[in-house]
């Protein structure tokens, strides 16, 4: 398919895992690991899907999500939030801010693959 | 001091202390007067050898003063709670 996914995440091992899984499935994966400059990265070339971690150095994933939704160019891009803090209030927060999907770490590879396929084609 | 049986005894003790302090204040005045006393000795006749009498008198006085001071230092209670109350007694009109 060759669709482009942008993964914003700071843990090198998790980046490696997700990139491996998605590349194998035929996606073009770009990665970025800093919260502060994440918006610039998105605007350089708007992806078809964004996978966004909540706890990022520099700027939290929620703040980035808020900006994504406020910007006309990115407002409709599907965003999948990843978090390691699996509390209910985190999910509420993500949904209120307009996340398309919310996933708690650790996840199974099948789940994330399903989710990416669903979101990118919708 | 609600216990009357003991009040009298306590009062006697602190009364005594106060009088000892009066004594401590009086001693130097007494001493000063006694030291000036030889100025009034009769000096009409020149054959009286006053220096030797002066030695006996002044050193005698000195010994008496030392004995009194020694006795007072024994009976005076230096640091008593009463101390502050007494100092507070003389408050009036110095501002």
């Amino acid at each position: 398919m060759g669709q482009r996914v942008l993964l914003i995440e700071d843990e090198p091992n998790i980046i490696e895992a997700i990139s491996y899984i998605l590349s194998k499935d035929g996606w073009t994966v770009h990665t970025h690991s800093d919260g502060e400059t994440a918006m610039d990265k998105v605007l350089q070339g708007v992806p078809d899907l964004i996978i966004l971690d909540v706890m990022l150095p520099g700027r939290s994933g929620y703040d980035i999500l808020r900006d994504l939704r406020a910007d006309g160019v990115t407002a409709s891009v599907p965003v999948m939030m990843l978090t390691a803090r699996g509390q209910a209030k985190d999910r509420d927060m993500a949904e209120r801010l307009g996340a398309t999907h919310f996933m708690t770490k650790p996840f199974s590879n099948a789940d994330i693959l399903d989710c990416v396929r669903t979101l990118a084609t919708s | 001091m609600s216990n009357r049986g003991r009040t009298e005894f306590l009062e006697r003790g602190s009364y005594r202390q106060r009088r000892f302090r009066d004594a401590a204040r009086m001693v130097p005045l007494f001493a000063a007067v006694m030291m000036l006393l030889p100025l009034m000795w009769p000096r009409a006749q020149t054959d009286q050898s006053l220096t030797s009498s002066g030695i006996y008198y002044l050193f005698g006085l000195w010994v008496v003063l030392v004995v009194i001071a020694f006795a007072l230092s024994r009976v005076l209670q230096f640091e008593t709670p009463d101390d502050s109350a007494e100092g507070a007694g003389k408050k009036g009109g110095d501002e």
Binding site: N13 | L39, E79
Partner: protein, 894 residues
């Protein structure tokens, strides 16, 4: 014939002995054995510096010239000591509560911490004391010359001057050595006090020995001695009433006002009860010193050739009778009298010069606000040492200029009248609240001027300073200003004339000027504290509110008092407020207490000025004044109970408030921590799960499989470490930790910790002082190393300075070993300092920190288990942590 060399040998041996005594006393005091140094006997003997060479040699000369009049000099102090309940007791109490360092400090402190008055009294004291020091040098050299003459050598003026110079230099060394070792004047000079106590015994023993020899050995008993007296030229005793009264008054006043007497009477006094014993013991000492004076004088006049100097009879009489051993003993007595006076007088004056002249000028010369940037302690110590040298040099110069002439008694009396000019301000200051600084300044200035004109300047002789014409006609022909006949009243004895007019004008100025002018608020407060010292033992509220921060104050106090002492004061204060750590709330009480501590080192005026700079001039409010003025006796007594209660309530409330703040903050932090721990656990688990899925599901290359397995392995380890930390903390907290007690030195543990922390010198420079680190330890060395590793890697992680540096300082405080870790970074903000040791806490910037905020918490738990502690140490210019390791015996075995 005594060989002159033998005399020199005996003197040097005696001096060495005195050094040994002083060293031994300092050593014992350093070991905390000060009880016997504070005994009444030592105190009484130290008062005997009142009896200088003037007494030892001069009293006999005085008696030979004027009969019994010499006794007035000893009757005056006897009156003061017997009447201790009036004045001495009050002075000692004031001296202790206000931490006075000198008589200049008393006057300056009482009159609103006035710098001007401090300088004035210091100058007066130097002018008055210099001739007196010269007198001591003169008497020592004269007595040496007597021995030289008797052994056949003839001394030229040059030899005398040389001897005087050696004596002065030796005294300077002794005084610097034992007088400037402790900065705080209230730490007291044990070495010096004990040495002068020994000298007091020597001089009394020597004089009595000579007296006994003269009465029983020469005159043939008491009866014949009295007969000799009655037959002598001094048999008639016709005291001049004005001189008799005047001399008793001046000697009593000088006993209180002489800088050296104030030093031993008030400053060195450590226990008020010793005064009560001295009230009879010191008059006894004076009595014994005076007992044989007249017999020695009379026998000397009888036996010695006409024209012999009666000032030297105590040495020349035994010599002429062939009693050389006795003569040497007598020489040592005179030597003791002279040296002990010079040592204490010099020390007292040097303290005054440094506290009232040098340090204030030094502070003024600096830009405002920069007070704390230099090391005041060094300035104070150095200025004291230099002052000691300068004052002794002045004494020596005066000795050279005056040519060693003049009867001893005359010089002594000039000095006495001079220092007596401080008396009205002192008495007024402690008994009359209305006395103010204008009055005191006018009184001392006028008294000083009248004394200088009528007694001091004329004492140099006619035509020396004041010409014959001025004596006869007055300056510029103003008749009523003649030095010996002020206001045209002639025929009064010059001594009485000087005392009468100086005291009359002095006291008059104090009263009139004080009545006509207004004191400033600080003076009124100090006045109330001095006059009602028995009521105000708790100290007054001099400082209202202030902007000074505890940490700034700590930094300043450390500079002046030294680190350990300042920290212990702050810690004690914080504890009494119910707080942990080193930073108490800056209450007015605390500020005035701290100011008194500092004034013990640098004097009241200086301490006040420094505090004022830090507290931004927050002085005394009108409310404070009214409060003090209204505190009449009855209210005081009643309110002191209330105060005690409300202070207690304050303390409790403060403790509760702190606890509450802590709880609230903790609860917030606990939520955050749970999130955090969840994050820390889930992150490695995510990688593990993901890669194990990949490995399970499919065909992948060998290369990739190896790599993925490696990642799983690493992440598992990370999980294990985190769990270890959590469990470690759990065990430590429950108190069931197993300690492996071993033996080693602190240096080894530090070496191991630095190695294990893996900190590269590029990232963090660690400076240590190996000398202090050889401390043997009996404790769990592994656990201790764990604490050190944590602190070192914390510094490496959090210290953001350009050139990060960690200083590891080891010292001994109260028998415990203390290791301070201070870096040069930004430190921990004050509001976080109470939090950092809590389990769930971690400062901002989570990305930087590698752990979950458990490190310091584990450190504290370990140290508690080891019976020690780890605390945050503020005021170090960066983050500072203090690890306290208890002595091995106190080890808290579980």
């Amino acid at each position: 014939m005594i060989s002159f060399n033998l005399l020199v040998f005996v003197s040097i041996a005696y001096v060495v002995f005195l050094f040994a005594v002083a060293f031994a006393a300092e050593r014992r005091a350093a070991m905390g054995k000060t009880a016997w140094l504070r005994s009444s006997a030592i105190y009484t003997l130290s008062l005997s510096i009142y009896c200088t060479a003037w007494t030892f040699y001069g009293a006999v000369g005085y008696a030979a010239r004027s009969g019994l009049e010499f006794l007035t000099i000893y009757l005056g102090p006897t009156l003061v000591m017997i009447g201790w309940w009036w004045l001495v007791r009050k002075l000692v109490r004031i001296g202790r509560t206000q931490r006075l360092t000198s008589i200049a400090d008393l006057i300056s402190s009482r009159f609103g911490k006035s710098t001007f008055l401090g300088v004035l009294v210091t100058v007066l004291a130097i002018v008055g004391t210099t001739p007196y020091i010269a007198l001591q040098l003169q008497s020592v050299t004269q007595s040496i010359a007597v021995f030289a003459a008797s052994s056949g050598e003839v001394w030229e003026a040059g030899d005398l001057n040389g001897a005087a110079m050696w004596v002065a230099a030796g005294l300077a060394v002794f005084t610097v050595l034992f007088g400037t070792r402790n900065l705080d004047a209230h730490e007291r000079h044990h070495g010096i006090v004990l040495a002068i106590a020994v000298e007091a015994v020597v001089k009394l023993f020597a004089l009595i020995a000579v007296g006994v020899f003269v009465v029983w050995g020469v005159a043939g008993g008491i009866g014949p001695t009295m007969d000799l007296i009655d037959a002598s030229a001094q048999s008639q005793w016709a005291p001049q009433p004005s001189r008799w009264i005047g001399l008793i008054f001046v000697s009593a006043a000088a006993f209180l006002c002489l800088p050296r007497m104030f030093q031993v009477l008030v400053v060195e006094n450590s226990d008020e009860r010793t005064v009560s014993t001295a009230s009879w013991a010191f008059p006894t000492y004076l009595l014994l010193m005076s007992l044989f004076v007249v017999p020695i004088a009379v026998v000397g006049l009888d036996l010695m050739p006409a024209g012999a100097n009666p000032d030297l009879f105590v040495v020349t009489l035994p010599l002429s009778e062939g009693r050389e051993g006795l003569a040497i003993l007598s020489f040592l007595g005179g030597f003791s009298s002279a040296t002990s006076m010079v040592i204490v007088a010099t020390l007292a004056l040097a303290t005054m010069v440094s506290n009232h002249i040098v340090v204030p000028s030094w502070l003024n010369a600096r830009t405002p606000g920069a007070v704390v940037s230099g090391d005041v302690r060094d300035v104070v110590v150095m200025s004291r040492r230099i002052s000691i040298g300068v004052i002794l040099a002045l004494g020596y110069i005066y000795f050279r200029l005056s040519g060693g002439g003049g009867a001893l008694a005359a010089i002594g009396l000039v000095s006495f009248t001079g220092v007596t000019q401080v008396l009205p301000a002192m008495i007024g200051g402690v008994f009359w609240r209305g006395a103010n600084r204008w009055g005191a300044g006018a009184a001392i200035s006028i008294g000083f001027a009248v004394w200088a004109w009528t007694q001091f300047l004329p004492s140099f002789g006619v035509d020396a300073v004041i010409s014959q014409a001025v004596f006869d006609q007055g300056p510029f022909g103003i008749n009523w200003l003649r030095p010996y006949a002020l206001f045209g009243i002639e025929g009064i004895d010059p001594f009485v004339h000087a005392v009468f007019w100086s005291m009359l004008l002095n006291t008059g100025a104090l009263i009139v000027v004080s009545i006509l002018t207004f004191p400033n608020p600080l003076e009124r407060l100090q006045g109330a504290q001095f006059v009602n010292v028995y009521d105000y033992s708790s100290g007054a509220r001099t400082w209202s509110q202030s902007a000074a921060q505890a940490e700034d104050l700590l930094v300043m106090a450390q500079r002046i008092l030294g680190g350990a002492e300042a920290q212990s004061i702050f810690q004690a204060e914080a504890r009494s407020q119910g707080k942990d750590g080193f930073l108490p709330d800056v209450t007015p009480d605390f500020i005035s207490r701290l100011e008194r501590e500092l004034s013990g080192s640098v004097g009241a005026a200086t301490a006040h000025a420094m505090m004022a700079q830090l507290t931004e001039g927050a002085m005394v409010s009108v409310d404070d004044l009214i409060a003090v003025a209204d505190e009449t006796a009855q209210i005081m007594e009643y309110s002191s109970q209330l105060e005690a209660k409300s202070a207690e309530q304050d303390r409790t409330a403060r403790a509760l408030r702190e606890a509450n703040e802590k709880l609230t903050a903790l609860s917030i932090q606990k939520d955050a921590f749970l999130s955090q721990i969840s994050h820390e656990l889930r992150t490695p688990m995510t990688s593990i799960r993901s890669f194990s899925d990949i490995l399970r599901d499919g065909e992948i290359e060998d290369e990739a499989r190896k790599k993925f397995a490696g990642i799983i392995h690493d992440e598992t380890n990370r999980l294990t470490r985190l769990l270890d930390d959590l469990l470690d903390l759990g065990v430590l907290e429950s108190g069931q930790v197993q300690l492996n007690i071993g033996e080693g030195t602190l240096a080894e543990v530090l070496d191991r910790a630095i190695m294990a922390s893996g900190v590269a010198p590029d990232d963090l420079v660690i400076s240590r002082r190996a000398v202090n680190e050889g401390v043997p330890l009996t404790t769990d060395l592994e656990r201790l190393a764990q604490v050190f590793i944590n602190l070192i890697s914390n510094a490496a992680k959090y210290c953001m300075a350009d050139d990060p540096e960690l200083r590891i300082i080891v010292r001994q405080i109260n028998g415990q070993t203390v290791v301070d870790f201070c870096d040069n970074g930004a430190g921990v903000p004050k509001e976080s300092q109470s939090m950092i040791f809590e389990k769930f806490s971690r400062l901002e910037d989570a990305g930087k920190a590698g752990g979950a905020g458990l490190g310091l918490s584990i450190c504290r738990q370990i140290m508690t288990a080891l019976g020690g502690d780890v605390t945050y140490l503020p005021g170090q210019g960066g983050a500072g942590f203090r690890v306290t390791i208890p002595a091995a015996v106190a080890l808290a075995a579980q």
